[in-house]
């Protein structure tokens, strides 16, 4: 089969953040130093090579970028200062754009202006719509109950609609990812029962992110701080998403505090605050190699998240302290940031919440399939001593 080559691939990747791919001279330091690089998946050097050669199809169907958590050790040791870690990061952005059939993700990654404009536009439309709805059906001085400015049953429905749109895109993207990796890129014949056998990998990696924990740089600190912050952020985020999507009416009910629900919301808020503060601090401080280069989408991601968390908390406090008018205004602002955030999900870095565990799942299936077939090893045997 002829291999299609895209000689401009490196240039394309520039806009996704990979700057120094051409510097690599393939000493293999990065692959050797990486804790995740193993017999089955060797990176970042191999991915860098594929990029240099412009093997677009090969990269499109590869799992390697998702197996990297960017600890930065490869970039630290790289003798050519080719930033292999950043290359892997950019490849993840590029893959997100590849999995997305609409082309919106690619547009956002390539153009900061388009992304910011889209976010502002969606925010304004949401704001206008909610204001219109609020003033026609409710009273701005009332926060909950049937006369409320934004009554929770309506917001609940609104959320569910947004959520379904989001899910639709995500499922489509996940399907495309499955097609690219398991159909086009899969070198093994994979029996169907392997999908069932390995399914436990999905929740395992989703909730533990244990591969990230393995990634810590022993030189920096003994505790896995980036992993911990990331896990807190992710768990807080997922909890909050579930609460908002399923338990919104109970969550919004006042004036008392419904502890059985709110305790989760408080825990989730703590996780979100710790996570966002840590990542903003790191991106400003630029102490660690993985936070030295920030793509514009990283900033949009984190800034929107901060606004959501802050407005959410303030709105909650104002509501419980009886300042209903202010609470309603902040609530509008909160929703104005939530809606673009949610709609942006399938087209942004956020989507790795889904792709990472999926990739681990697929990788697990590949590994099993490989063992089943006992691929003939036509390579030089390692001498035994």
């Amino acid at each position: 089969m002829a291999i299609r080559v895209n000689p401009k691939l490196i240039e394309d990747l520039l806009r996704y953040g990979a700057e120094d791919v051409h510097m690599c001279y393939h000493c293999g330091d990065c692959s050797a130093v990486c804790v995740h690089s193993d017999e089955m998946f060797r990176f970042p050097r191999k991915s860098t090579r594929q990029l240099q050669m412009g093997l677009e199809r090969k990269i499109e169907t590869s799992l390697e970028p998702w197996l990297c958590y960017y600890c930065g050790q490869c970039s630290e040791q790289c003798p050519r200062e080719a930033a292999p870690g950043e290359t892997m990061m950019s490849l993840r952005r590029w893959l997100i754009a590849r999995y997305d059939l609409t082309g919106i993700a690619g547009l956002f990654f390539r153009s900061r202006t388009a992304e910011i404009l889209a976010v502002i536009m969606v925010a304004l439309i949401t704001g206008a719509f909610l204001l219109y709805h609020g003033f026609t059906t409710g009273n701005i001085l009332v926060y909950d109950g049937p006369d409320a400015f934004l009554e929770s049953s309506f917001i609940h429905k609104f959320d569910l609609i947004i959520g379904s749109i989001l899910a639709l895109f995500l499922i489509g993207n996940a399907f495309r990812m499955w097609y690219l990796i398991m159909i086009k890129g899969n070198p093994y014949t994979t029996p169907w029962w392997l999908y069932i056998k390995q399914i436990y990998l999905l929740p395992l990696h989703f909730f533990s992110q244990k591969r990230y924990a393995k990634c810590d740089n022993p030189k920096d600190s003994a505790i896995h701080i980036p992993w911990f912050a990331h896990l807190g952020l992710m768990l807080g985020y997922v909890t909050m998403l579930v609460l908002v999507m399923v338990f919104l009416p109970a969550l919004q009910q006042g004036p008392g505090i419904n502890w059985s629900i709110h305790v989760f919301a408080y825990l989730a808020s703590i996780g979100l605050i710790v996570g966002t503060v840590y990542f903003i601090y790191s991106r400003f401080k630029k102490q660690h190699i993985q936070y030295q280069k920030s793509h514009s989408t990283d900033w949009v991601f984190i800034i929107l998240l901060v606004i959501i968390v802050l407005t959410g908390i303030v709105q909650h406090i104002l509501h419980r302290s009886g300042l209903f008018e202010a609470a309603n205004i902040i609530y509008i602002l909160h929703l104005m940031s939530v809606v673009p955030w949610l709609l942006r999900m399938p087209f942004s870095k956020w989507a790795h919440l889904l792709y990472r565990p999926l990739a681990m799942y697929f990788a697990g299936i590949w590994a099993e399939a490989n063992e089943l077939q006992q691929h003939p090893q036509n390579i030089m045997p390692i001498p035994q001593i």
Partner: protein, 600 residues
């Protein structure tokens, strides 16, 4: 004649201000147009021809670092304008050496010559100084030895200055040379002896240059001769002094893998074959004569004088040859290989001494053994004859070389000596497993590629992919790397790791370059005048570079350069024309001569 001068640069020049050269050229006769086109200008011949027509230019001068790059577009513009396309002249700052202190003056002269259409080299002829027939060679390694013998054999007097106690340099430390696997000492020691016995060579060991003044052809050199404290003429190297000396220190000649005394001879074949005292470690000198002094009492020839002091000698020479050699990078700066942490990680130079038949183990390749130091009561790892030979050896190439964090350049010899090591290891330990980790195999010389193939045939596992780390797992060293050709990550258990460490300029190069007034490149090696045309001359007349101090190179190239500098020196002495140097020519002189050439 109406002349237009155009300044075009490919890069920003920092050596001098283009504006001041432009101002100067505007005042040259017949120059009507001066324009600075800036860095990497986009030139269109149509536009230029319009300019040429407008100013009615008969001659164009393109000035810049590499003006030839822009010549085609100007030539075309001249044709389009209907003028003579042959009247396009280049004023190349790079080619005629507008660098250093004289850069601005030189650049002006280059432009002036171009406007007169006179080749710069015809106009800029320096006055020739008479040449002192004595030559100074700094550095007694193989490059200095070769140059000294060549010049001295032509019956010209040579001063050979060496910093350490013996000549021979690094080559004396080596076991074998690549690719022929000749014994290194067998090639070197006869040459060393010739140097020691030559009538025309004044050998000054344990000395260094501390000051140079004067002009090409007549340099006054100040040499600091450290007190050797042993009389060279009467010492017979009986070694009774060192037998009784109580102080043990690391032996520099043995790359610190063995010990020597404070009164010592670097190695048995040293030239001059006499002992010397290491004043920093001698108890007598450090206690200012209060303690020890036992060697003085025991010496049968009474040739030790521990109270001798350093001397400063002044000599006058015509030419100076620099052959200061190199040093190896400090590997402990590179943490991932564990040098200094794991006992059996050694540098190439250490291994070279280990495998050398005159080394501490008599040439037996062993791993280090732990022993208790009798005096300090501390554990230490040493190479001992009773040590166990390694079952597996890993040789890691490019350690600190081709790495932007340490040396960005290739050290050029490491690939070949690493292959040589693999051969030596295989030769001496038959059932050993040997791994070579490399990035690119640079087997560039005569017979080198064949040598590389031979080593692979001998059963060395050559892994393409430099190893990333050396680790210790349950007392077993593990080298991890990516095998790129076989597409796998490999981890090998090894007993001995040899690091092919990158080379850096010899310590004191910077000081020496200041003393002599010559430049060094960004990596610290001495700059040659022209890499292709004059690889052994420097910017300063009568000063030459040979061997490693110019850039890393192997023994054949070093010897060749040693002979090449001798040719330069002898040419200056025997031609009777003297040595001139452009720095002695002023701008007005060049202008005057250029004008006189036109009128001819």
């Amino acid at each position: 004649m109406r002349i237009g001068v155009f300044f075009c640069q490919l890069d920003e020049t920092k050596k001098f201000s283009i504006e001041s050269v432009a101002k100067y050229s505007a005042n040259l006769p017949d120059v009507v147009t001066v324009q600075i086109l800036g860095v990497n200008p986009r030139l269109v011949s149509d536009v230029l021809s319009g300019r040429i027509k407008q100013d009615n230019l008969d001659r164009i001068v393109i000035a810049g670092d590499t003006p030839g790059y822009f010549k085609p577009v100007f030539t075309k513009a001249m044709v389009l304008a209907g003028h003579n396309p042959k009247e396009v002249y280049l004023a190349s700052f790079n080619e005629h050496g507008a660098t250093g202190d004289m850069a601005l003056e030189r650049a002006k002269a280059i432009v002036a010559c171009a406007t007169y259409a006179v080749p710069f080299s015809l106009a800029a002829i320096p006055a020739q100084n008479p040449v002192n027939h004595t030559t100074l060679i700094i550095g007694g390694g193989i490059a200095g030895i070769q140059a000294a013998l060549e010049v001295a054999d032509a019956d010209k007097e040579v001063y050979l200055i060496e910093k350490t106690g013996t000549i021979g340099g690094h080559m004396a430390m080596f076991d074998k040379t690549f690719p022929t696997l000749d014994c290194s000492a067998c090639i070197l020691t006869p040459k060393m002896v010739s140097v020691g016995q030559h009538d025309m060579i004044r050998l000054m060991t344990y000395s260094e240059v501390i000051g140079v003044s004067g002009n090409p052809g007549a340099y006054q050199v100040k040499i600091l001769q450290h007190a050797r404290r042993v009389d060279i003429k009467s010492c017979v190297a009986c070694s009774i002094c060192s037998d009784v000396c109580p102080v043990w220190v690391d032996s520099e000649f043995d790359a610190n893998i063995s010990k020597r005394k404070a009164i010592y001879i670097p190695f048995p074949q040293a030239v001059p074959n006499a002992f010397l005292v290491d004043e920093k470690n001698c108890t007598y000198i450090q206690s200012e004569g209060k303690k020890c002094g036992v060697c003085v009492k025991k010496c049968p020839k009474e040739c030790i004088d521990l109270n001798a002091s350093d001397e400063v000698i002044e000599i006058e020479v015509g030419n100076i040859i620099l052959a200061t050699g190199y040093d190896v990078l400090d590997v402990s700066k590179i943490p991932q290989y564990g040098y200094g942490v794991y006992p059996n990680v050694v540098t190439a130079l250490e291994f070279e001494r280990l495998t050398n038949a005159s080394g501490t183990t008599g040439g037996k390749i062993v791993t280090k053994t732990k022993q208790i130091n009798k005096r300090t009561k501390e554990e230490e790892w040493i190479f001992s004859v009773d040590g166990t030979p390694p079952k597996s050896v890993a040789i890691i190439h490019c350690v600190g070389s081709r790495n932007k964090k340490y040396n960005a350049y290739c050290s050029r010899v490491c690939c070949m000596y690493s292959l040589k090591f693999a051969h030596l290891v295989k030769e001496k330990i038959p059932d050993v497993t040997c791994y070579e980790f490399y990035i690119d195999m640079r087997a560039f010389g005569k017979g080198y590629e064949e040598f590389s193939e031979r080593i692979k045939q001998e059963g060395t596992f050559v892994v393409r992919g430099r190893s990333a780390s050396v680790a210790m797992n349950d007392g077993q060293m593990v080298v991890k790397g990516e095998d790129i050709i076989q597409d796998r990550v490999v981890e090998f258990d090894v007993d001995l790791v040899i690091l092919a460490v990158g080379l850096i300029p010899a310590p004191g190069s910077e000081e020496l370059s200041n003393i002599l007034g010559i430049t060094r490149d960004t990596d610290g090696w001495f700059s040659e005048l022209d890499y292709n045309g004059n690889p052994t001359d420097t910017e300063k007349g009568g000063i030459y570079v040979a061997g490693m101090c110019q850039s890393p190179k192997d023994i054949p190239d070093t010897v060749a350069q040693g002979s090449a500098v001798a040719a330069g020196v002898l040419r200056s002495i025997t031609s009777g024309k003297g040595i001139g140097h452009l720095s002695s020519v002023s701008l007005s002189e060049i202008e005057l001569r250029a004008k006189s050439i036109i009128t001819l």
